[in-house]
């Protein structure tokens, strides 16, 4: 996957792997997963379920697969970090970057042989024979410290960070401090032990303990535990308004973490901020503030954000959008500026709806939407199109904006539209750019006299005008011609469509709408 400088927004359906990408990047650059060091967190659940199942099944057959491995590569801009340059990467060409592999340790061949021979009873990947290899493209072992890009993963969606949240916030704080400040902090923490020991009451207690300690001739005393190198990191707690950090609201946590990560000013270190679904746990206004901060402060930092929210995507510019679908990524970077602007201002932010549904039907207005939905239900056992992954979006007269995106990233989109009395001009010529594209289809009728939905619908039901009057609740005697009924409908646009939608009568539909229904059923 390619990421650009500044902001990157990953969108994709649930289970499309958005979070995995953020976690993989964070793991490869920090060695930390779920807030803990990978070496202590190795488990078979890190592996893709399908791959691990295939592997385990294969062990029971004659065609055994070799133990699966996980390989993550994070590639930097070439020549920015020449120390990391070399050919140790999947492409085997020169890159600058870091590779992290979770792979079978060949040293355990003989144990593995025993394991494989136990065939039937195997239910898991033999993770105890796995090792973690972490190296640069120049084939040198790396550590979180030696990697110049420090990632910060901000994820307030997942409960798995709750336990590790202490180390989590202290990492961000730690990154925020320079070396001198870090040393000062740890010194201050150490001197705490000293002053504890000098406290009069503690001295008294220790004296008493020593006198009564008949058990041993050695000195017995109480002291503050102050031990290993980085003890201070784990013992210090971050407070917000005197409330421990992990006790404050999740949304607030997300905002604090993001702001800390963004305002970090160490110039010698490149910063990468990974944010998982910033919209969760935040009110609309707080989210707005956060997004504004992200935009203002992302200068010289790279951000990768996953989201389900069109609002977030639009606010942070569609240009930065990366669409994840069926393990494929597509970018919107080539869209014209005016289209970006259009979607940015659009109320309701339908962009992601377009991006995330299997098929989209674009219609002009509410009545078109209602009639199409009704026609769909009639032919699909009362199911709404959305239930089959088909979204119907009413876009007034802005079809081409949507089609531009659809063309660029090969979305399946159909347009249902009126010919407005001139099929050649309004349909053929207008949509010439999209002719012959397999993923885009324009449905309109070439009969110029049936210029819009109302005459089309009356025409389709011309045999049954009385039923229409009944459905609309109008006088059969007064509205006794095609023209009169059409006229009525044109002045009661949404109203008649709603009545059709809710009616239990059977209707006929114009041919171009029926074709669109067929398109929905195409594979």
């Amino acid at each position: 996957m390619d990421f650009s400088e500044g902001i990157n927004i990953i969108v994709g359906n649930n289970e499309s792997g958005k979070s995995t990408i953020l976690e993989a990047i964070n793991l490869c650059l920090s060695g930390i997963i779920n807030g803990k060091y990978l070496r202590n967190e190795l488990s078979q659940y890190l592996f893709n379920k399908k791959i691990s199942d295939d592997y385990i099944d294969s062990l029971k057959t004659n065609q055994k697969i070799k133990p699966p491995e996980i390989c993550i590569e994070v590639i930097f801009d070439k020549e920015t970090y020449p120390n990391f340059m070399g050919t140790a990467n999947l492409s085997k060409s020169e890159e600058s970057g870091v590779v992290l592999k979770i792979e079978f340790n060949e040293e355990y061949q003989s144990e593995y042989k025993e394991y494989v021979e136990s065939g039937e009873s195997i239910t898991t990947i033999p993770i105890e024979y796995y090792k973690v290899s972490w190296y640069s493209c120049s084939r040198e072992a790396v550590t979180g410290r030696s990697i110049p890009i420090k990632p910060v993963l901000i994820d307030s969606t997942s409960p798995k960070y709750q336990n590790g949240s202490d180390i989590y916030i202290s990492r961000i704080i730690k990154n925020y401090l320079d070396d001198k400040e870090k040393v000062n902090l740890s010194q201050a923490y150490r001197s705490m032990k000293q002053s504890f020991m000098e406290e009069l009451s503690v001295v008294e207690i220790n004296k008493k303990l020593n006198q009564s300690a008949g058990l041993t001739s050695k000195k017995l005393e109480i002291s503050a535990d102050l031990p290993t190198q980085n003890a201070w990191e784990k013992s210090l707690m971050t407070y917000i308004d005197e409330i421990p950090f992990h006790q404050i609201g999740k949304g607030e946590q997300c905002i604090v973490k993001t702001n800390l990560a963004l305002s970090h000013g160490k110039t010698e270190e490149a910063h990468l901020v990974l944010i998982e679904e910033p919209e969760s746990h935040l009110t609309h206004t707080r989210l707005n503030e956060l997004l504004k901060n992200i935009q203002d402060l992302c200068d010289r930092k790279q951000l990768i954000i996953t989201t389900h929210s069109s609002f977030v995507a639009n606010k942070l510019l569609l240009k930065n959008l990366i669409l994840l679908n069926d393990f494929r990524t597509t970018r919107l970077i080539e869209l014209s500026n005016s289209t970006f602007e259009f979607f940015r201002r659009l109320p309701g932010y339908p962009t992601l709806r377009l991006l995330l549904t299997k098929k989209t039907i674009l219609v002009e207005g509410d009545s078109d939407e209602l009639i199409f939905q009704r026609a769909y239900m009639d032919t699909h056992r009362e199911r709404l199109p959305i239930a089959d992954g088909i979204d119907v979006i009413s876009v007034i007269l802005t079809f081409k904006r949507f089609l531009e995106i659809a063309k660029l990233i090969e979305l399946h989109v159909a347009v249902i539209t009126d010919n407005d009395g001139n099929f050649v001009k309004n349909i053929q010529e207008k949509y010439r750019d999209y002719e012959g594209l397999p993923n885009i289809k324009i449905f309109a009728d070439n009969n110029n006299s049936l210029y819009t939905l109302e005459p089309q619908f009356v025409d389709a039901n011309a045999d049954n005008l009385e039923m229409l009057c009944e459905v609309f609740g109008i006088s059969k005697g007064k509205y006794n011609s095609i023209e009169k009924i059409t006229k009525y409908m044109e002045t009661h646009k949404t109203e008649w469509a709603l009545k059709v939608f809710e009616s239990d009568k059977t209707f006929q539909y114009p041919a171009y709408i029926k074709s669109a229904l067929d398109w929905c059923d195409d594979e």
């Binding site: 020549e79 020449p82 120390n83 340059m85 070399g86 050919t87 140790a88 085997k92 020169e94 493209c137 120049s138 084939r139 040198e140």
Partner: protein, 379 residues
Amino acid sequence: MNNRIIVSAAGSGKTTFLVNQALKLKNESVLITTYTEANESEIKQKIYEIHGCIPSNITVMTWFSFLLKHGVRPYQDALETELSDKMIGFYLTNRKSGHRYGTVYWGESDFYKYFFNPQLKIYSDKVSKFILRINDETNNQVFKRIGLIFENIFIDEVQDLVGYDYDLLHHLFKLPISVLLVGDPRQVTYLTHPTSKYPKYRYGKLIEFIRDKINTKEIVCEVDTDTLKVSHRNNNKTCDYSSLLYPELPAIVACECCRDDLVAHQGLYMVKPSDLDVYLERFNPIQIRWNKNTPISKKTFAINMGKSKGLTFDRTLLYPTEKMINWIRDNSFKLKNETKAKFYVALTRARYSTAIVLNYKETEEFRGLQKYSPGGYNE
């Protein structure tokens, strides 16, 4: 491109000089490398002494570590793609590697047997050649990368480099970085590895190599025989006398700053074997011998000539070999490279006095040497 080789005198404080040069470069990356681990740790020690810590812009590593890390591994698969995910180790050898049978050795066409031992450890005498091959194959990528990482490369004890190492230096000189080489061509007491490459330029003939084979209009490595010609260890007499061994190089000069004229018995002396016991008793010198087969007195500490490199003593007593005696008698006598280098090293160890054990006749006089007589005025 700013390349310089400084010819240093024994005791000129070369390591201190190098370290100070590196510490001046606050905002540039510096690599300091040297052939031996002993000298690597001496350089680190020196940096700690002067600066308290090793600044993050300075990297100190041995020549072979540098070659493995930045020469071999980044593009190790350039010649054989299957090497891509293998771990290449290192095998230090002081004999010609890749032995096949009898006097026959594997050739380069047997790629793996030529460059590696069976555990895929690259032979130390072939590392440089391997890197040159990779570099050719990758269109100079190995050195381009090195040039991006280090803005300055300092090599201490550069006289330890031989053969294909010279070609590596040639590539380093072409980079848009500063290369500073420091060494004493007089102190090549052994060859760091056997090589058939550039036999003419072995034994400290790097300067001749630079003049003959490297320096052109485009690439220049400046030869500096001035900056480090002053010895802070030896007095004038010792400097003058040891300089006679290498008339083609500018003479070493004793510094003004470290001399202690109040100490008696300074300079170069001849001591008859019959006076040895008295002399040892009186001055307690360190005995310097050719090797452990040289008969010496058990009274004071003794060291081999080759091992004494880099060390400083107050007083020394030398056991010259026959050839060395020939040279003492006639300074135009041609010594072998190794003998000459060891003799030079042995002569330049003492701060105050260097005595040479020599059975001379009272009528004989030798240039630069005083006769020692017990109870005489020169005690």
